[in-house]
Structure formats: C-alpha cells, structure tokens
C-alpha cells in the first residue's frame, strides 16, 4: 500500500499517522506539501490532524481552499480512499467531500483524553478491520469536534449506514454523558456515500503502540493495508 500524507502549515499529527502507516505497511508515506499541485500515486491519502492555518476563519476553511485539496478531491472522485483525522475531518467537511460541519465543543473546552467509540459499520476499507458493534478506546484532542448537520443529512447518514463511529460508554451503550463534544447523535466519524472517504475526530493513529496505552487504532490501518495491498 502506497500512502500520501498532506501537510499544511499548522498540521501537527502528520508524524503520528506516518508512524502508524509505516508500522503496518513497512513503508514511509510520502509527504505532500499544501502548495503542491501534484499528488504522488497513492492507494490512500491522509489529511492529518493539527491546526492548519491556525484555524483562521474556521477550522479547516483555509486548507480546504489550498491547491492540493483540489487534487485530493479529484482523487476521491476517482475512488481513491481519503482519510481525514481531526483537523483533517474539518478540512474534508469544509471542502465538501463530507457533509455537515464541526462546531466549537458544546462545553467550550478543549478536550484531550481517551474516549470509547462504537464501530457502527465494518463496510468500508477503513473499518473492515473491525466488526460492527466493536468498542474501541482511542484518544481525542480537539476544540471543534461538535458535529452538526441538518435533519435530512443526519437521517441519510443513519439510513445509509454512513456513520462509522459513535462515542459511547465503555460497554458500548450510547449514553450522552460519554459524548465529549456535544456532537449530533454522538457522531465521531462519517463516511461519504461512496464509502471511500472517512472523516473522524478521534486519533486512531495514536493508539497503535502498546507502549502508549493500547492498540485499538491499529486495526484501522491493518484493515486498510489488507484491503489496499
């Protein structure tokens, strides 16, 4: 699996996701700078977390307009898998690859801790390493993770099985108290209609090494590597 990681001024989780990808593929991803207008040939494109352009205007708004994102959109349209993590998720909603938007956390605080997620579907290259209903423990670190979309969009996401992950209790129950940011339907991550674009607020790339707590995130990258060769 050949992978590319897009780098913006203010990205800061690119190293973590590059390490995670190298761990499962044995190959270092190619880093692509935001001003580049050519994407290297890749089986997977990752838009990593961080604070691209200092979150100016709105989180992800400036990055969504950068030359490289035009290429990322074109690749996604061709069916290339695109994974947006945290700020990457915000960028993917801002550039229209995913519906909805991410607002300031409802309690206004930056939240940085482990959360539990329930895998809602295993039907995507990103989630095939899990079974629907699995509960995984991964960290979040964000200020703007409060997912919103209009009622029709939320119904469509539910109806078409496009919700990939929800925040949940450790036993998998969906309880509002375990929603770290106020997001609609406790949504932590969603797929596009074609299921080749995933955006999620938590950081699976930071749960791949037993020395850092657990390896629940590793199955996402292993599933990708198994699917994409």
């Amino acid at each position: 699996m050949k992978t590319a990681v897009v780098l913006f001024p203010g990205s800061n989780r690119e190293g973590d996701v590059e390490d995670a990808l190298e761990l499962v593929t044995g190959r270092r991803p190619q880093t692509v700078w935001h001003r580049d207008s050519d994407l290297p040939e890749a089986d997977l494109i990752v838009v990593p977390g961080g604070f691209s352009y200092g979150d100016y205007l709105r989180a992800g708004a400036m990055a969504a307009q950068s030359p490289i994102m035009r290429e990322v959109k074109a690749a996604a349209d061709r069916g290339v898998p695109v994974l947006g993590i945290c700020n990457g998720f915000q960028i993917l909603t801002e550039c229209g690859l995913l519906p909805g938007a991410l607002l300031r956390n409802a309690h206004l605080k930056f939240v940085c801790r482990f959360v539990h997620l329930r895998v809602e579907t295993s039907d995507s290259v990103f989630t095939r390493g899990y079974n629907a209903g699995d509960v995984i423990r991964v960290p979040v670190a964000h200020h703007d993770g409060n997912y919103v979309a209009d009622v029709e969009t939320l119904a469509r996401l539910r109806g078409e099985g496009l919700i990939a992950f929800r925040y949940c209790a450790p036993d998998g129950d969906e309880v509002g108290d375990f929603n770290p940011n106020g997001s609609a339907g406790s949504i932590a991550g969603i797929l596009n209609e074609r299921r080749n674009v995933l955006g999620l607020m938590p950081h699976p790339e930071d749960a791949v090494d037993p020395r850092l707590g657990n390896t629940d995130g590793r199955r996402m990258f292993e599933g990708l590597a198994a699917a994409l060769g």
């Binding site: 205007l57 307009q65 801002e94 519906p99 409802a106 206004l108 106020g182």
Partner: protein, 80 residues
C-alpha cells in the same frame, strides 16, 4: 469601496460561545440580557466602484470562503 461582512451562526445552530458571554454579562450584573449571539466581522477594501457589482462579488466571496452555509448566515454592508 469598503465592504463589511457580518457572519453569524444560523439561528437553528446552538451558539455555546454566545451563551457563555451571556452568562458572563449576567454575572457582571448586567440585567435583562436575554440572548447573545457571537459572530465575526470581516472588512474588505475593494477596487470596485459599482455598488451592484461589489455586492455581487462580495456575496460570491461569502459563498466560497467567508461563511460556511451549513452553519452560518452572512450579511454584506457596503460603505462609501
């Protein structure tokens, strides 16, 4: 010509920052604060002198970048 763009969260979108400001105002003893909405103001100096064209151009800027139509409304005010 100068354009002033006001961007606010849509009425239907909860504005926790506005609520926090409202609570802080009440805490300072300002009675009767019923609702606070927070937004942003963007001022743009334009070479355009035709008001109609300027209005159209700034609205296009709002639709493309300055506001996110999923969560925000905007108004455009032309000055001068």
């Amino acid at each position: 010509m100068k354009a002033r763009v006001h961007v606010t969260l849509k009425r239907a979108v909860l504005d926790p920052q506005g609520q926090a400001i409202g609570r802080a105002l009440s805490g300072l003893g300002f009675d009767g604060v019923e609702n606070v909405r927070q937004g942003k103001v963007i001022e743009i100096d334009l070479a355009e002198t035709d008001r109609g064209k300027a209005q159209e151009r700034v609205r296009a800027m709002c639709d493309r970048l300055l506001a996110n139509p999923v969560i925000e409304d905007y108004t455009v005010e032309l000055i001068g």
